[in-house]
């Protein structure tokens, strides 16, 4: 093993995968576990989720998203396919660049949703930012629907990411 450019590229791929597991793992925790379980929890016990678990999960969720996009862009740059992927492989007619490009764009939409829709609305829904009861309820619904949007997008995103490297042309 040599500490060369190839290793540096692999190193950022490792960081990218770990960050992605943190992000999408928590996204799926919210959608597959926490949201469906909330109606089954007695009101007196709900603050354990809304005041303790959800804020901690949201911290690692949004910073996992940030770390995933930053390490992904670095990895694409180091491998020399950043521009080809952004243009969906149209610039160099490479199916691998097209596949990873679809994954990158879907991931970028998801990252935007996390930082500019879900997190601002969750701050209102969880009482981190004080708002009236109607706005609080509406913010919770918006955050939930965009979280669901990201769950939906995660399915083609992961297909695109994995197929770029692992699916024969």
């Amino acid at each position: 093993m040599h500490l060369d450019a190839a290793y540096l590229s692999f190193f950022f791929r490792w960081l990218h995968i770990m960050s992605g597991v943190m992000w999408i793992g928590l996204l799926w925790y919210f959608n597959f576990v926490q949201i469906p379980s909330m109606p089954k929890i007695p009101d007196a016990e709900k603050p354990a989720i809304s005041k303790v678990i959800a804020p901690a999960a949201l911290f690692w969720f949004r910073w996992g998203a940030m770390s995933t996009i930053i390490t992904g862009l670095i990895e694409a740059y180091l491998n020399g396919y950043l521009a080809d992927a952004i243009t969906l492989g149209l610039s160099n007619h490479s199916i691998q660049a097209t596949r990873i490009g679809f994954g990158m764009w879907l991931g970028t939409i998801m990252w935007f949703n996390v930082w500019f829709v879900i997190w601002p609305n969750q701050k209102k829904a969880l009482g981190i930012v004080q708002v009236g009861p109607d706005e609080k309820k509406a913010a919770g619904r918006t955050a939930m629907l965009f979280s669901r949007t990201n769950t939906m997008l995660s399915i083609p995103m992961l297909y695109a990411m994995a197929s770029a490297s692992h699916l024969p042309m």
Binding site: F32, I95, L145, I155, P156, Y159, A160
Partner: protein, 31 residues
């Protein structure tokens, strides 16, 4: 009308449909 994303099952089905559409688009680009 209820938003289809309120259902987790519908969300997953829509994700799979989007995946199929994406694969068809990519295949069409290289056929």
């Amino acid at each position: 009308m209820k938003n289809p994303l309120e259902s987790l099952h519908t969300t997953i089905v829509l994700g799979v449909v989007l995946t199929v559409v994406m694969v068809l688009i990519i295949n069409a680009m290289y056929s």
